[in-house]
Symmetry: C2
Subunit: 508 residues, 2 copies
């Protein structure tokens, strides 16, 4: 039997009941558990993370063993995404810059609409999507899905021991399709927008559900686990429940996919060891450096508001604003997620992209593509630079002394005042002073000017290198080299419009 590193291996056997398989390479054993894939078949899925000869042994309802020769990864296959420091990287070490979008209830729409959505997604810059396992009942989301994750008992309650195969087969198909399209899938395991009872099942049902999801989906390279969307507004679940859910997912996933938990009001304790990254709902992007510093994990702005025209704050951003939120986030070393919430005045049944999919029409999409082109060409990840007064943030007393010694003498009193502030008031003051600047060592320095209509910008570049300085109009999508061999202090001329950026890249 032959297979490829980072590609799912699937084996299906007739019958019912439990199956378990141990895959062994050298001294490493990975145990995977099978799942009932139809009324009379059981399926085992394995994801080889390493190339080379594996042996396997299946126990339970079937007893079988064998050898798999796993060939090195084929082009374009990089394995599951991992959190490495504050960055996302594929298992093979390749940097993974995710440009997310959101179609929460994608899996619960009619096939024709999902097909249309897939076509739409192919022509976008996105490579990550957030979507829910359970259907969504919320504003603009009142259609009943055709299939649910489980069959019902006679009393109408969900029977979590009886998966609805049609539901999961459809889900599989779409996950594979998304994989082929290059998408990471941030799979939302629970959420509060519910009138079917999925958000308030018993502990036993929760775990049986998770067990099935993990058995079925964990061998997909592109799966991430989002424990919940807005975990904190699911009244039926306590923090203890969430910790147990996290532990369960973490322990039973043989391939160690990313685990995050997305909040509405109260941040998840992202410092928890099994939480791999910081999944946030916020428009306060100026706080990204603080969160990076605090958690030392990748910061994903999984919800910063959506481009659209709803009557709600979260669904009424302009294309300019959502584009700006992407730039703010990426300039500060975070990852941002898109969503679109346009309502047609005359639609009989609303199809709002952020939930159901369909077509996109926002102004931000092309601009995110333009951003992606620039980001993907950077030699490495950006780290935020605390510029201006924010330079005092996260500094030790010695570093602060150094900072004070380095600032222009006339400015010293300003910094002294900042340092003398009450700490709480200082943080709120500094929230208004953040500049969107990131750097990739001495290789690249990015300044996103945001709403500022600078006529010029002073850059302090390392003196020992030479840089090519580009002026970027992030909205009109133009870039122009202004200085070719810049070093030290340079002044970049800017057109006095908002949404500009300046990128200095080291010459090689």
């Amino acid at each position: 039997m032959r297979a490829y590193q980072y590609e799912t291996i699937e084996m299906t056997f007739p019958g019912t009941g439990n199956l378990e398989a141990a895959f062994v390479k050298d001294d490493e054993i990975v145990t995977v558990r099978g799942f009932q894939s139809s009324e009379n078949t059981v399926t085992l899925r394995f994801l080889p993370l390493r190339a080379g000869r594996h042996t396997f042994e299946i126990t339970g309802a079937v007893r079988e063993s064998g050898i798999i020769d796993v060939l090195p990864a084929r082009e374009g296959h990089h394995g599951p995404v991992r959190a490495v420091g504050t960055c996302l990287k594929y298992a093979d070490g390749t940097l993974c810059r995710t440009y997310g979008t959101t179609v929460y209830a994608l899996a619960h729409q009619p096939d024709s609409l999902i097909d249309e959505t897939m076509e739409t997604l192919k022509n976008t810059p996105f490579n990550k999507i957030r979507l829910c396992v359970f259907p969504k009942h919320f504003l603009y989301n009142e259609n009943e899905p055709e299939f649910f994750a489980f069959e019902r008992r006679e009393n109408g309650a969900w029977d979590t021991s009886m998966p609805c195969f049609a539901f999961w087969d459809r889900f599989d198909k779409r996950l594979c399709q998304l994989f082929d399209m290059g998408f990471q899938v941030d799979l939302i395991l629970f959420h509060p927008y519910d009138h079917w009872g999925f958000s308030s099942m018993s502990r036993e049902d929760d775990l049986r559900y998770l067990d099935y999801v993990i058995r079925r989906f964990a061998a997909y390279p592109n799966i991430w686990w989002s424990l919940a969307n807005e975990y904190d507004v699911i009244p039926a679940k306590s923090m203890e429940d969430w910790y147990d859910i996290e532990k369960y997912v973490s322990e039973y996933d043989p391939f160690h996919h990313l685990i995050g938990n997305h909040h509405c009001i109260s941040l998840w304790p992202h410092e928890r060891p099994c939480t791999t990254h910081v999944s946030l709902q916020t428009g306060q992007l100026y706080r990204i450096p603080e969160w990076l510093e605090k958690y030392r994990k990748p910061v994903l702005i999984d919800e910063c508001g959506y481009e659209g025209n709803l009557g709600e704050l979260w669904g009424s951003l302009s294309g300019e604003e959502l584009t700006a939120r992407f730039w703010r986030t990426f300039a500060l070393g975070g990852y941002c997620t898109h969503g679109e919430t346009f309502l047609n005045e005359n639609d009989l049944e609303e199809i709002v992209f952020w939930s159901k999919g369909g077509k996109l029409r926002g102004g931000s999409i092309n601009r995110i593509a333009f951003l992606r082109e620039i980001m993907d060409a950077l030699p490495g990840p950006l780290e935020p630079e605390n510029a201006g007064f924010c330079a005092v943030r996260g500094k030790s007393p010695e570093e602060l002394e150094e900072l004070l010694a380095s600032v222009h003498q006339g400015m010293r009193v300003y910094y002294e005042r900042v340092l003398a502030m009450d700490p709480v008031e200082r943080e709120r003051f500094l929230d208004g002073q953040v500049q969107y600047r990131g750097r990739c060592g001495d290789e690249a320095i990015l300044v996103y000017c945001d709403i500022q209509t600078f006529g010029q910008l002073r850059l302090d570049l390392p003196d020992r290198e030479r840089y090519t300085v580009e002026v970027i109009d992030t909205w009109n999508m133009t870039r122009e080299v202004q200085i070719r061999d810049a070093h030290g202090q340079v002044t970049v001329k800017l057109p006095g419009r908002p949404w500009m950026a300046v990128l200095a890249r080291k010459n090689h």
Copy 2:
């Protein structure tokens, strides 16, 4: 001798030396002190705040007494501005909505430029100006003035006992001109942008200077005292110095003009009894309700950034953004101040309006005029409405219980989460949740939609009244009545563009 209420009375006598005059009406005595107005004249200025017969008695270098019949205020004369609760009102009780601008070093420019500036100001919506007594040395401000407040001693030091009459005569002329143009003058007594030593004089010199300013200018109806611009970054002055300066100004000003102190980093303790209003430098306009609540005084955003194209954060706002800052401020019941900082690439000597005056060219001016038209037509002052999650702010436990009982059941868990947050984190979270809504009792309700591109907005109007609901495009300066007899819950259609506002006015 006849005079008018709220108009300055001036008497000049030959000679030198101290003069003091007691003006008596009924049982009220107001003592004013004269000032050397030229080498051989002394001048006394008095501002009658009440109509009716006054007697006066002059003592000192001149001894004279007499009667003044003060006639009731002429049209357009309302007296000095006072702080009444969180509002500004003229002495006669008329609401005073100030629309400020900034020409810090106006008084230190050549006459031709000041004349040009005055012409410019006549065609603006502004009725308040911030300007400095001392000249300004700062970026884009390096011209030496022709006259200074004092003559120099032989050793080059300032002789605060020797006013430079040419300087003060020019100043008088411009203050009177501004008064005739309807401008309040927020006179900045100290500031840090100095290379002449005015910001680091001795205590004795400071007080002698203040003494002269007060004797000379306090009888002008349109004077406000701004103790300083950026008081906190004048290294030579301690808080004790500022308290003494405040005390001095407050005690020696017979007409009790407004007293404020403007900060850069550290807020002035605006709760001080002699501080009449809250003068702020901030772009964090979402904090206005908090400051109104805390100080119970008028909140003046005296510096929120300037429209222009400088390389600095504070001098590079678009017209759209400065216009938005005015709307945010006014919608929340504050007062906002404009400034313009355009740099011409090819100017040999820069004339940046915010400091020197000249011509205005920004996009915000006409929009501020449009805002003013709308605000001035409101029947009374707006008070901020803490909408959305911010409704929890400043509420007692009983009020919170009431709030929780009133919110839609599905939303209750969200509010509970907000209430359960750590208080510091909650404030920072709520900073990002502020909506710009103000109301004038049941008379008028204003929602400024800011950057939100709402396609619709739900308004909760009192059910017992009938309202005319207008949709306002604050940037394109259009207003359109959409509903004529609205009451209770209404849905207003909006065009999905940013910078819209909705105004509901009670029908009469």
